[in-house]
Symmetry: C2
Subunit: 193 residues, 2 copies
Amino acid sequence: MPKTTTWDERALLLLGVLTTQSQHGYQINDFIENRLCRVADMKKATAYAQLDRLHAAGMIEIEIAQVGNRPPRKVYSITEPGRALFHDLLATNLATVEAPAFAGDIGLMFMNHLPRAEAIAALRRRLAQLDTLIANQPMPPPHGGKLNLDLAVDHIVAVRRADRDWLATTIDRLEAEATLPNPHPQAAANPLS
Amino acid sequence: MPKTTTWDERALLLLGVLTTQSQHGYQINDFIENRLCRVADMKKATAYAQLDRLHAAGMIEIEIAQVGNRPPRKVYSITEPGRALFHDLLATNLATVEAPAFAGDIGLMFMNHLPRAEAIAALRRRLAQLDTLIANQPMPPPHGGKLNLDLAVDHIVAVRRADRDWLATTIDRLEAEATLPNPHPQAAANPLS
DNA sequence: AGCCCATTAGTCATACTTGACTAATCAAGA
DNA sequence: TCTTGATTAGTCAAGTATGACTAATGGGCT
Protein backbone atom coordinates (compact mmCIF):
# COMPACT_ATOMS: atom_id res chain seq x y z
CA MET A 1 0.00 0.00 0.00
CA PRO A 2 1.14 3.56 -0.51
CA LYS A 3 3.05 5.14 2.30
CA THR A 4 0.58 6.97 4.51
CA THR A 5 0.95 10.69 4.24
CA THR A 6 2.04 12.51 7.35
CA TRP A 7 -0.48 15.09 8.52
CA ASP A 8 0.58 17.92 10.70
CA GLU A 9 -0.98 20.82 12.52
CA ARG A 10 -1.85 22.53 9.25
CA ALA A 11 -4.17 19.69 8.35
CA LEU A 12 -5.58 19.86 11.87
CA LEU A 13 -6.22 23.55 11.44
CA LEU A 14 -8.05 23.20 8.15
CA LEU A 15 -10.06 20.19 9.27
CA GLY A 16 -11.00 22.10 12.40
CA VAL A 17 -12.17 25.08 10.44
CA LEU A 18 -14.22 22.83 8.18
CA THR A 19 -15.59 20.79 11.06
CA THR A 20 -17.11 23.95 12.44
CA GLN A 21 -18.73 24.74 9.09
CA SER A 22 -18.35 24.00 5.40
CA GLN A 23 -16.65 26.95 3.76
CA HIS A 24 -15.32 28.13 0.47
CA GLY A 25 -11.70 29.09 -0.04
CA TYR A 26 -12.02 32.79 0.41
CA GLN A 27 -13.84 32.33 3.68
CA ILE A 28 -11.25 29.90 4.95
CA ASN A 29 -8.37 32.23 4.27
CA ASP A 30 -10.22 35.22 5.60
CA PHE A 31 -10.98 33.35 8.78
CA ILE A 32 -7.43 32.16 9.31
CA GLU A 33 -5.70 35.41 8.47
CA ASN A 34 -8.11 37.65 10.36
CA ARG A 35 -9.59 35.75 13.23
CA LEU A 36 -6.92 33.16 13.98
CA CYS A 37 -3.90 35.25 13.10
CA ARG A 38 -2.66 35.39 16.67
CA VAL A 39 -2.78 31.63 17.12
CA ALA A 40 -2.09 30.21 13.67
CA ASP A 41 -0.12 31.42 10.70
CA MET A 42 -0.93 29.96 7.31
CA LYS A 43 -0.91 31.77 4.00
CA LYS A 44 -3.37 31.39 1.17
CA ALA A 45 -1.17 29.38 -1.16
CA THR A 46 -0.30 27.01 1.67
CA ALA A 47 -3.95 26.54 2.52
CA TYR A 48 -4.84 25.67 -1.07
CA ALA A 49 -2.02 23.17 -1.28
CA GLN A 50 -3.16 21.52 1.94
CA LEU A 51 -6.78 21.49 0.81
CA ASP A 52 -5.69 19.72 -2.37
CA ARG A 53 -3.81 17.12 -0.36
CA LEU A 54 -6.75 16.57 1.95
CA HIS A 55 -9.11 16.29 -1.01
CA ALA A 56 -6.86 13.82 -2.79
CA ALA A 57 -6.85 11.72 0.37
CA GLY A 58 -10.65 11.80 0.60
CA MET A 59 -10.70 13.80 3.82
CA ILE A 60 -12.72 16.62 2.32
CA GLU A 61 -15.02 16.98 -0.66
CA ILE A 62 -15.69 19.90 -2.94
CA GLU A 63 -18.94 21.21 -4.40
CA ILE A 64 -19.36 24.09 -6.77
CA ALA A 65 -21.88 26.71 -5.75
CA GLN A 66 -22.98 29.54 -8.00
CA VAL A 67 -24.13 32.79 -6.43
CA GLY A 68 -25.51 35.26 -8.94
CA ASN A 69 -23.03 35.80 -11.72
CA ARG A 70 -20.06 35.80 -9.37
CA PRO A 71 -17.17 33.48 -10.05
CA PRO A 72 -18.29 30.06 -8.83
CA ARG A 73 -17.44 29.17 -5.26
CA LYS A 74 -15.77 25.94 -4.32
CA VAL A 75 -17.28 24.85 -1.06
CA TYR A 76 -15.09 22.49 0.95
CA SER A 77 -16.75 20.05 3.34
CA ILE A 78 -15.22 17.51 5.67
CA THR A 79 -16.04 13.85 5.04
CA GLU A 80 -16.52 11.07 7.54
CA PRO A 81 -12.92 9.82 7.16
CA GLY A 82 -11.94 13.46 7.56
CA ARG A 83 -13.80 13.67 10.85
CA ALA A 84 -12.02 10.56 12.06
CA LEU A 85 -8.67 12.01 11.04
CA PHE A 86 -9.56 15.29 12.72
CA HIS A 87 -10.39 13.46 15.90
CA ASP A 88 -7.09 11.61 15.90
CA LEU A 89 -5.00 14.64 15.05
CA LEU A 90 -6.77 16.68 17.70
CA ALA A 91 -6.30 14.09 20.44
CA THR A 92 -2.64 13.70 19.52
CA ASN A 93 -2.09 17.44 19.40
CA LEU A 94 -3.66 17.95 22.80
CA ALA A 95 -1.63 15.15 24.32
CA THR A 96 1.73 16.17 22.91
CA VAL A 97 4.35 18.66 24.00
CA GLU A 98 6.15 20.35 21.18
CA ALA A 99 9.88 20.94 21.30
CA PRO A 100 10.11 24.69 21.56
CA ALA A 101 12.81 26.47 19.61
CA PHE A 102 13.00 30.17 20.22
CA ALA A 103 14.86 32.22 17.66
CA GLY A 104 15.57 34.72 20.41
CA ASP A 105 17.66 32.17 22.26
CA ILE A 106 20.25 32.07 19.51
CA GLY A 107 21.13 35.63 20.37
CA LEU A 108 21.25 34.89 24.09
CA MET A 109 23.80 32.18 23.47
CA PHE A 110 26.20 34.60 21.83
CA MET A 111 25.46 37.58 24.02
CA ASN A 112 28.97 37.63 25.44
CA HIS A 113 30.32 38.57 22.04
CA LEU A 114 28.82 42.04 22.46
CA PRO A 115 30.03 44.57 25.00
CA ARG A 116 27.93 44.19 28.11
CA ALA A 117 26.32 47.62 27.87
CA GLU A 118 25.28 47.09 24.28
CA ALA A 119 23.81 43.68 24.98
CA ILE A 120 21.84 44.97 27.94
CA ALA A 121 20.55 47.91 25.93
CA ALA A 122 19.33 45.52 23.24
CA LEU A 123 17.61 43.29 25.79
CA ARG A 124 15.98 46.38 27.25
CA ARG A 125 14.48 47.12 23.86
CA ARG A 126 13.19 43.57 23.69
CA LEU A 127 11.65 44.03 27.11
CA ALA A 128 9.96 47.28 26.08
CA GLN A 129 8.46 45.53 23.06
CA LEU A 130 7.17 42.73 25.23
CA ASP A 131 5.58 45.20 27.63
CA THR A 132 3.84 46.95 24.78
CA LEU A 133 2.59 43.67 23.38
CA ILE A 134 1.22 42.59 26.73
CA ALA A 135 -0.39 45.95 27.50
CA ASN A 136 -2.05 46.30 24.11
CA GLN A 137 -3.16 42.70 23.99
CA PRO A 138 -6.39 43.09 22.07
CA MET A 139 -9.08 40.73 23.16
CA PRO A 140 -10.14 38.56 20.25
CA PRO A 141 -13.48 39.45 18.71
CA PRO A 142 -16.33 37.34 20.04
CA HIS A 143 -16.63 34.04 18.26
CA GLY A 144 -19.52 31.72 17.89
CA GLY A 145 -20.08 28.24 19.13
CA LYS A 146 -17.39 25.69 19.50
CA LEU A 147 -14.29 27.66 18.67
CA ASN A 148 -12.27 28.18 21.79
CA LEU A 149 -10.00 30.99 20.76
CA ASP A 150 -9.92 32.42 24.26
CA LEU A 151 -8.13 29.42 25.63
CA ALA A 152 -5.35 29.61 23.06
CA VAL A 153 -4.98 33.36 23.46
CA ASP A 154 -4.90 32.95 27.21
CA HIS A 155 -2.08 30.45 26.83
CA ILE A 156 -0.09 32.77 24.62
CA VAL A 157 -0.57 35.63 27.06
CA ALA A 158 0.54 33.47 29.97
CA VAL A 159 3.68 32.34 28.20
CA ARG A 160 4.49 35.82 27.03
CA ARG A 161 4.12 37.14 30.53
CA ALA A 162 6.52 34.50 31.81
CA ASP A 163 8.92 35.45 29.04
CA ARG A 164 8.67 39.07 30.12
CA ASP A 165 9.31 38.26 33.77
CA TRP A 166 12.29 36.11 32.94
CA LEU A 167 13.73 38.82 30.76
CA ALA A 168 13.27 41.52 33.40
CA THR A 169 14.93 39.35 36.04
CA THR A 170 17.75 38.44 33.72
CA ILE A 171 18.47 42.04 32.81
CA ASP A 172 18.65 42.94 36.47
CA ARG A 173 21.06 40.10 37.12
CA LEU A 174 23.25 41.01 34.19
CA GLU A 175 23.40 44.59 35.37
CA ALA A 176 24.35 43.55 38.85
CA GLU A 177 27.15 41.45 37.40
CA ALA A 178 28.23 44.33 35.19
CA THR A 179 29.06 46.45 38.22
CA LEU A 180 31.44 43.76 39.41
CA PRO A 181 34.82 43.26 37.75
CA ASN A 182 34.14 42.16 34.19
CA PRO A 183 34.27 38.38 34.01
CA HIS A 184 34.82 38.50 30.27
CA PRO A 185 37.67 40.94 29.65
CA GLN A 186 37.81 39.95 25.99
CA ALA A 187 34.25 41.10 25.30
CA ALA A 188 35.33 43.95 23.02
CA ALA A 189 36.27 43.51 19.38
CA ASN A 190 39.23 41.18 19.18
CA PRO A 191 40.35 40.20 15.71
CA LEU A 192 43.07 37.58 15.48
CA SER A 193 43.56 36.40 19.02
CA MET B 1 22.87 46.80 -7.09
CA PRO B 2 21.65 43.27 -6.37
CA LYS B 3 18.92 42.96 -3.85
CA THR B 4 20.51 42.40 -0.47
CA THR B 5 19.96 38.88 0.75
CA THR B 6 17.95 38.50 3.90
CA TRP B 7 19.83 36.82 6.71
CA ASP B 8 18.05 35.10 9.49
CA GLU B 9 18.80 33.35 12.73
CA ARG B 10 20.45 30.49 10.87
CA ALA B 11 23.11 32.83 9.58
CA LEU B 12 23.44 34.23 13.08
CA LEU B 13 23.91 30.74 14.45
CA LEU B 14 26.64 29.80 11.99
CA LEU B 15 28.45 33.11 12.27
CA GLY B 16 28.31 32.77 16.03
CA VAL B 17 29.78 29.31 15.94
CA LEU B 18 32.55 30.51 13.63
CA THR B 19 33.18 33.67 15.65
CA THR B 20 34.03 31.48 18.59
CA GLN B 21 36.47 29.47 16.51
CA SER B 22 37.22 28.52 12.91
CA GLN B 23 35.90 25.06 12.24
CA HIS B 24 35.46 22.51 9.53
CA GLY B 25 32.07 21.20 8.46
CA TYR B 26 32.02 18.05 10.50
CA GLN B 27 32.87 19.99 13.63
CA ILE B 28 30.18 22.56 12.96
CA ASN B 29 27.46 19.98 12.54
CA ASP B 30 28.65 17.96 15.46
CA PHE B 31 28.60 21.05 17.63
CA ILE B 32 25.14 22.14 16.58
CA GLU B 33 23.51 18.73 16.73
CA ASN B 34 25.12 17.64 19.97
CA ARG B 35 25.85 20.67 22.08
CA LEU B 36 23.26 23.17 20.88
CA CYS B 37 20.47 20.72 20.15
CA ARG B 38 18.26 22.04 22.92
CA VAL B 39 18.50 25.63 21.74
CA ALA B 40 18.91 25.43 17.99
CA ASP B 41 17.80 22.96 15.38
CA MET B 42 19.64 22.88 12.07
CA LYS B 43 20.43 19.85 9.96
CA LYS B 44 23.62 19.15 8.08
CA ALA B 45 22.30 19.85 4.59
CA THR B 46 20.84 23.13 5.76
CA ALA B 47 24.10 24.14 7.37
CA TYR B 48 26.06 23.47 4.19
CA ALA B 49 23.58 25.49 2.13
CA GLN B 50 23.85 28.40 4.54
CA LEU B 51 27.64 28.15 4.60
CA ASP B 52 27.62 28.36 0.80
CA ARG B 53 25.41 31.44 0.89
CA LEU B 54 27.59 33.09 3.50
CA HIS B 55 30.72 32.25 1.51
CA ALA B 56 29.23 33.62 -1.71
CA ALA B 57 28.48 36.84 0.14
CA GLY B 58 32.03 37.07 1.45
CA MET B 59 31.03 36.66 5.07
CA ILE B 60 33.19 33.58 5.56
CA GLU B 61 36.23 32.14 3.82
CA ILE B 62 37.30 28.59 3.24
CA GLU B 63 40.74 26.99 3.47
CA ILE B 64 41.63 23.42 2.70
CA ALA B 65 43.56 21.62 5.41
CA GLN B 66 45.07 18.19 4.93
CA VAL B 67 45.50 15.94 7.94
CA GLY B 68 47.41 12.77 7.13
CA ASN B 69 45.83 11.03 4.21
CA ARG B 70 42.31 11.76 5.42
CA PRO B 71 39.84 13.41 3.09
CA PRO B 72 40.78 17.09 3.05
CA ARG B 73 39.02 19.30 5.56
CA LYS B 74 37.38 22.54 4.57
CA VAL B 75 37.98 24.98 7.38
CA TYR B 76 35.47 27.82 7.51
CA SER B 77 36.55 31.16 9.01
CA ILE B 78 34.59 34.33 9.52
CA THR B 79 35.80 37.43 7.67
CA GLU B 80 35.74 41.05 8.80
CA PRO B 81 32.49 41.78 6.93
CA GLY B 82 31.20 38.62 8.50
CA ARG B 83 32.00 39.92 11.95
CA ALA B 84 30.16 43.14 11.17
CA LEU B 85 27.16 41.18 9.96
CA PHE B 86 27.30 38.98 13.03
CA HIS B 87 27.32 42.03 15.23
CA ASP B 88 24.27 43.50 13.50
CA LEU B 89 22.32 40.26 13.46
CA LEU B 90 23.13 39.66 17.10
CA ALA B 91 22.07 43.13 18.22
CA THR B 92 18.86 42.86 16.22
CA ASN B 93 18.10 39.39 17.53
CA LEU B 94 18.60 40.47 21.12
CA ALA B 95 16.42 43.52 20.67
CA THR B 96 13.54 41.78 18.92
CA VAL B 97 10.56 39.81 20.15
CA GLU B 98 9.53 36.98 17.93
CA ALA B 99 5.92 36.27 17.20
CA PRO B 100 5.36 32.95 18.92
CA ALA B 101 3.20 30.36 17.24
CA PHE B 102 2.62 27.24 19.26
CA ALA B 103 1.43 24.20 17.41
CA GLY B 104 -0.20 23.06 20.61
CA ASP B 105 -2.57 26.01 20.55
CA ILE B 106 -4.23 24.75 17.39
CA GLY B 107 -5.55 21.85 19.40
CA LEU B 108 -6.70 24.07 22.25
CA MET B 109 -8.79 26.10 19.83
CA PHE B 110 -10.74 23.04 18.75
CA MET B 111 -10.87 21.33 22.11
CA ASN B 112 -14.63 21.66 22.36
CA HIS B 113 -15.00 19.28 19.44
CA LEU B 114 -13.91 16.44 21.70
CA PRO B 115 -15.95 15.12 24.60
CA ARG B 116 -14.82 16.93 27.71
CA ALA B 117 -13.43 13.86 29.41
CA GLU B 118 -11.37 12.86 26.41
CA ALA B 119 -9.96 16.35 25.99
CA ILE B 120 -9.03 16.58 29.64
CA ALA B 121 -7.40 13.15 29.53
CA ALA B 122 -5.30 14.26 26.56
CA LEU B 123 -4.24 17.45 28.29
CA ARG B 124 -3.29 15.40 31.30
CA ARG B 125 -0.95 13.37 29.14
CA ARG B 126 0.55 16.60 27.87
CA LEU B 127 1.03 17.74 31.45
CA ALA B 128 2.73 14.48 32.41
CA GLN B 129 5.15 14.87 29.53
CA LEU B 130 5.93 18.41 30.57
CA ASP B 131 6.60 17.31 34.13
CA THR B 132 8.97 14.63 32.92
CA LEU B 133 10.78 17.07 30.69
CA ILE B 134 11.20 19.57 33.50
CA ALA B 135 12.29 16.97 36.04
CA ASN B 136 14.81 15.32 33.77
CA GLN B 137 16.16 18.59 32.44
CA PRO B 138 19.78 17.60 31.88
CA MET B 139 22.18 20.37 32.61
CA PRO B 140 24.17 21.18 29.51
CA PRO B 141 27.74 19.96 29.50
CA PRO B 142 30.21 22.61 30.56
CA HIS B 143 31.21 24.85 27.74
CA GLY B 144 34.24 26.96 27.19
CA GLY B 145 34.65 30.67 27.02
CA LYS B 146 32.14 32.97 25.49
CA LEU B 147 29.31 30.61 24.71
CA ASN B 148 26.43 31.36 27.02
CA LEU B 149 24.38 28.22 26.67
CA ASP B 150 23.21 28.42 30.27
CA LEU B 151 21.29 31.61 29.67
CA ALA B 152 19.37 30.16 26.73
CA VAL B 153 18.66 26.92 28.56
CA ASP B 154 17.55 28.87 31.60
CA HIS B 155 15.14 30.78 29.40
CA ILE B 156 13.70 27.63 27.91
CA VAL B 157 13.27 26.11 31.35
CA ALA B 158 11.52 29.22 32.62
CA VAL B 159 9.10 29.30 29.72
CA ARG B 160 8.43 25.60 29.96
CA ARG B 161 7.68 25.91 33.63
CA ALA B 162 5.19 28.68 32.92
CA ASP B 163 3.66 26.48 30.27
CA ARG B 164 3.32 23.70 32.79
CA ASP B 165 1.72 25.92 35.40
CA TRP B 166 -0.74 27.32 32.92
CA LEU B 167 -1.67 23.85 31.79
CA ALA B 168 -2.16 22.57 35.33
CA THR B 169 -4.37 25.52 36.21
CA THR B 170 -6.34 25.18 33.01
CA ILE B 171 -6.99 21.50 33.54
CA ASP B 172 -8.28 22.24 37.03
CA ARG B 173 -10.58 24.91 35.69
CA LEU B 174 -11.88 22.70 32.94
CA GLU B 175 -12.61 19.95 35.42
CA ALA B 176 -14.47 22.32 37.69
CA GLU B 177 -16.57 23.40 34.76
CA ALA B 178 -17.17 19.80 33.77
CA THR B 179 -18.99 19.12 37.02
CA LEU B 180 -21.41 21.92 36.23
CA PRO B 181 -24.13 21.47 33.63
CA ASN B 182 -22.39 21.00 30.32
CA PRO B 183 -22.20 24.37 28.54
CA HIS B 184 -21.66 22.61 25.22
CA PRO B 185 -24.38 20.01 24.93
CA GLN B 186 -23.34 19.18 21.37
CA ALA B 187 -19.83 18.19 22.40
CA ALA B 188 -20.33 14.53 21.52
CA ALA B 189 -20.08 13.15 18.02
CA ASN B 190 -22.78 14.77 15.97
CA PRO B 191 -22.77 14.06 12.22
CA LEU B 192 -25.26 15.98 10.11
CA SER B 193 -26.75 18.48 12.52
C1' DA C 1 44.32 -10.32 7.37
C1' DG C 2 39.87 -8.67 7.19
C1' DC C 3 35.83 -6.24 8.68
C1' DC C 4 33.24 -2.66 10.73
C1' DC C 5 32.53 1.85 12.56
C1' DA C 6 33.70 6.65 13.20
C1' DT C 7 35.47 10.53 10.71
C1' DT C 8 35.35 13.62 7.01
C1' DA C 9 33.18 15.47 2.95
C1' DG C 10 29.37 16.74 0.83
C1' DT C 11 25.14 16.07 -2.92
C1' DC C 12 20.48 15.46 -4.48
C1' DA C 13 15.69 14.68 -4.94
C1' DT C 14 11.75 15.80 -2.69
C1' DA C 15 8.59 18.33 -0.15
C1' DC C 16 6.90 22.53 1.93
C1' DT C 17 6.11 27.59 2.11
C1' DT C 18 5.00 31.84 0.34
C1' DG C 19 5.26 36.41 -2.27
C1' DA C 20 3.60 37.88 -6.42
C1' DC C 21 0.71 37.42 -9.98
C1' DT C 22 -3.75 36.72 -13.03
C1' DA C 23 -8.91 36.93 -13.75
C1' DA C 24 -13.56 37.93 -13.28
C1' DT C 25 -17.77 40.18 -10.89
C1' DC C 26 -20.15 43.63 -8.40
C1' DA C 27 -21.14 47.64 -5.18
C1' DA C 28 -20.24 52.20 -4.25
C1' DG C 29 -18.17 56.56 -4.59
C1' DA C 30 -16.66 60.63 -7.85
C1' DT D 1 -20.33 57.05 -16.17
C1' DC D 2 -16.07 55.49 -14.68
C1' DT D 3 -12.94 53.94 -11.50
C1' DT D 4 -11.71 51.61 -7.53
C1' DG D 5 -11.73 48.22 -4.10
C1' DA D 6 -13.66 44.01 -2.13
C1' DT D 7 -14.99 39.30 -3.35
C1' DT D 8 -14.01 35.01 -5.39
C1' DA D 9 -10.86 31.84 -7.56
C1' DG D 10 -6.56 30.11 -7.78
C1' DT D 11 -1.41 29.46 -10.05
C1' DC D 12 3.53 29.64 -10.26
C1' DA D 13 8.27 30.55 -9.57
C1' DA D 14 11.64 30.81 -6.26
C1' DG D 15 13.42 29.89 -1.94
C1' DT D 16 14.15 26.82 2.23
C1' DA D 17 14.70 22.48 4.72
C1' DT D 18 15.95 17.86 5.13
C1' DG D 19 16.14 12.63 4.77
C1' DA D 20 18.74 9.63 2.28
C1' DC D 21 22.53 8.74 -0.17
C1' DT D 22 27.67 8.31 -1.87
C1' DA D 23 32.81 8.15 -1.03
C1' DA D 24 37.13 7.68 1.05
C1' DT D 25 40.34 6.90 5.19
C1' DG D 26 42.08 5.00 9.39
C1' DG D 27 41.82 2.75 13.89
C1' DG D 28 40.60 -1.07 16.44
C1' DC D 29 38.71 -5.73 17.11
C1' DT D 30 38.70 -10.76 15.88
